[in-house]
């Protein structure tokens, strides 16, 4: 049976089927004023009991539930006690003379449809909460008891259900559940998110065929491929027992790589760093074995502020980052915003073509007041850790020189004010505009490092806005033109003996690792969670092999050929 793999891993075990029974109580339609009043009172009472249920859940889980889980429950109380919900139910009972349980189902269905059509994915997921509260009120209308703890057998089992409501998923006992398969749902449903965070293999969206499963059937769940096997034969069980063991070993292996240096089999060191944007991210960098930060985005600091953050506010942020950096390098990218990310303090006019417009370093050079504040804050924090400064969107030597002059000015100011900072702070640039890639030899003489931003480099080289769905298929980092630019930048950096790393999405793409290493890249920066996967490739290959791969790829004529070849050599 095929579904959607939503939480990777393999589990083999007995099925436990959870079927929900529809209410069978017959209710009499209310006719008189008194009847109507009675139905409304029944509704109020059921709501009160439902709120009480959730308050008990909240109280019990005060210390054990995750913040998101607590927030879900609090939101559900808001929905339950919503005056609009009560009003809708009340009006329907009195005008349509239907019993309260039918009215409630209709109102909830209406909400699910209304929110289901919204263009905001987050709001669409609220449908699950409406379903949840609707069922809970209904249960109390029928005189039911709260059954938030799903009744499970004592032995570990694989749960089978239509889907789980948020409150059910939260109360799932992970010691008893070894796998989950649901008829409905997808990658972003509550069930999927919770299963992933708890590490339970899960398959969602199996459809009607899941109804064949009976209690105690033997099941195999493959949460990576999205497969469910019912009463499999011996051969299949053996096969999956082996796969399960391999999967377990592989994830333990990846975890164990944390402190293993990223050395190729022939002893070449590759530096693996992380892209982050908040102080809290620093912990995860080291958890995954990152050797510092290859890209610290500073935009979050500026977004959502009524006014430009002061030097003190900024300093505090960089200082906290530096403090948590364990003296590993942190590349701070100066502010990278434009008209597509509107800021109240900047008041940028709308542009027809914001990616080609007034943005990033262009704004900074035009507004020395803003730029100087950021540079001073970074410099002041530089004595607390190994910070480096990186300018984004540089497209000419003139821009680089002006930026460096501003940095000199900031240094001079601080020195005059007798404020200490790292005098020799390393300075580099992002290579993300094709013109910069083409004059990399000229730029390399005046900086300490390059960081290749493949996302923008690809977009500008191929003239493709990747946010535009109609042309997104043209966005292709394996296009020979993009690869040639990357190759050229790496070569020029090496000739000038400056550090070069790559911080776009390509850095975390396992298909690209050998190719980039073969082109001479020695630094990768990516989301922390990807680091173990890329490290695993590095330590199992030699630079020699990577060079052969790169040589072959650079002779190929189109990206389809390149991608097919890379897939072939990276099983």
């Amino acid at each position: 049976m095929k579904g959607i793999g939503v939480s990777p891993g393999i589990s083999i075990g007995k099925a436990c089927v959870i079927r929900k029974i529809k209410s069978s109580i017959h209710e009499i339609p209310p006719e008189s004023e008194a009847d109507i009043l009675k139905e409304v009172e029944r509704f109020d009472l059921a709501v009160q009991q439902a709120v009480l249920d959730i308050e008990i859940l909240l109280d019990k889980g005060k210390h054990t539930l995750l913040t998101e889980e607590l927030a879900i429950l609090e939101t559900q109380i808001e929905f339950l006690t919503d005056p609009q919900l009560k009003e809708d139910v009340q009006i329907k009972i009195s005008t349509e003379h239907k019993p309260v349980s039918i009215v409630l189902e209709e109102v909830i269905q209406g909400l699910i449809e209304l929110f289901g059509q919204m263009d905001d994915e987050y709001l669409r997921t609220k449908a699950e909460d409406f379903n949840d509260i609707g069922k809970r009120i209904l249960m109390h209308l029928n005189g039911g008891q709260a059954t938030d703890q799903l009744l499970l057998p004592h032995d570990p089992c694989i749960l089978i259900a239509d889907d789980f409501s948020p409150s059910e998923t939260i109360s799932l006992d992970v010691t008893k559940v070894i796998g989950i398969a649901t008829r409905l749902g997808g990658k972003n449903s509550h069930t999927a998110i919770i299963a992933r965070s708890k590490g339970i293999p899960a398959v969602a969206g199996c459809g009607e065929s899941l109804n064949q499963v009976c209690d105690n059937d033997l099941l195999i769940i493959d949460g990576l491929e999205g497969l469910v096997w019912i009463n499999p034969d011996e051969a299949n069980i053996t096969k999956y027992t082996i796969l399960q063991e391999e999967y377990r070993k592989h994830s333990e292996w990846l975890k164990s790589l944390k402190d293993t240096p990223a050395l190729t089999t022939d002893g070449h060191k590759i530096s693996l760093k992380a892209n982050i944007s908040a102080v809290e991210d620093m912990e995860t960098v080291f958890e995954h074995g990152g050797e510092g930060v290859g890209l610290l985005r500073t935009e979050l600091l500026f977004m959502g502020h009524e006014s430009f953050p002061t030097e003190e506010e900024q300093f505090e942020f960089y200082q906290q980052i530096a403090g948590k950096s364990r003296q590993m390098p942190v590349m701070v990218r100066t502010i990278d915003i434009g008209a597509d990310k509107q800021q109240p303090w900047l008041n940028l006019p709308a542009e027809n073509n914001p990616v080609l417009g007034y943005r990033a370093i262009r704004i900074c050079l035009d507004r020395p007041d803003l730029f100087m504040t950021q540079l001073r804050a970074i410099l002041r924090a530089s004595k607390f850790g190994k910070l480096k400064i990186m300018f984004p969107m540089i497209s000419s030597l003139q821009e680089l020189r002006s930026s460096k002059a501003m940095l000199m000015e900031a240094k001079k100011q601080l020195a005059d004010e007798k404020i200490s900072f790292d005098m020799d702070i390393e300075t580099g640039i992002m290579i993300e505009v094709p013109s910069a890639a083409l004059i990399a030899d000229i730029l390399a003489r005046e900086v300490d490092f390059f960081s290749i931003g493949t996302n923008d480099l690809c977009q500008y080289t191929l003239a493709v806005d990747r946010m535009n769905e109609q042309v997104a298929y043209l966005y292709d980092p394996y296009h020979p033109a993009v690869l040639r630019l990357i190759q050229q930048v790496i070569q020029k950096a090496r000739h000038n003996q400056i550090e070069v790393s790559l911080c776009g999405e390509l850095a975390s793409d396992p298909q690209a690792t050998l190719l980039l290493m073969g082109l001479g890249l020695t630094g990768f920066s990516m989301s922390a969670a990807s680091i173990p996967h890329i490290k695993n490739i590095i330590i199992n290959n030699s630079i020699e092999r990577a060079r052969v791969v790169a040589q072959k790829v650079m002779l190929m004529e189109d990206s389809e050929q390149i991608k097919t070849y890379l897939q072939l050599i990276n099983p």
């Binding site: 927030a71 879900i72 609090e74 939101t75 808001e78 929905f79 919503d82 005056p83 609009q84 919900l85 909400l111 209304l114 929110f115 919204m118 905001d120 987050y122 709001l123 609220k126 977004m303 959502g304 502020h305 009524e306 509107q342 109240p344």
Partner: protein, 88 residues
């Protein structure tokens, strides 16, 4: 009655958590609070109505307050939109 316009500063717009906080805040006042976006007005006592209005990042909403403590209420709600919202 007094009213004022605010720009939504949270990148995710007004999702459940900020909405809960906003409702709790407005309940502290005796005045009646309404919020409006694109000529659609809802009373600020219903999570359902507030989410259905779905105010997004960068959009402008109008807050109107009517009642004996309207000045105080608008100040507190204004502070929520200009300061608190960016931290949620």
């Amino acid at each position: 009655m007094i009213s004022k316009d605010y720009i939504i500063l949270s990148p995710d717009g007004i999702h459940a958590r900020p909405a809960t906080a906003l409702l709790k805040l407005s309940r502290q006042f005796k005045s009646v609070v309404h919020v409006a976006k694109n000529q659609k007005t809802v009373r600020l006592n219903s999570m359902l109505n507030l989410l259905a209005l779905s105010p997004k990042f960068g959009e402008t909403i109008t807050v109107s307050v009517d009642g004996e403590d309207e000045q105080e209420a608008l100040e507190a709600i204004g502070f929520f939109f200009t300061e608190n919202l960016k931290d949620i």
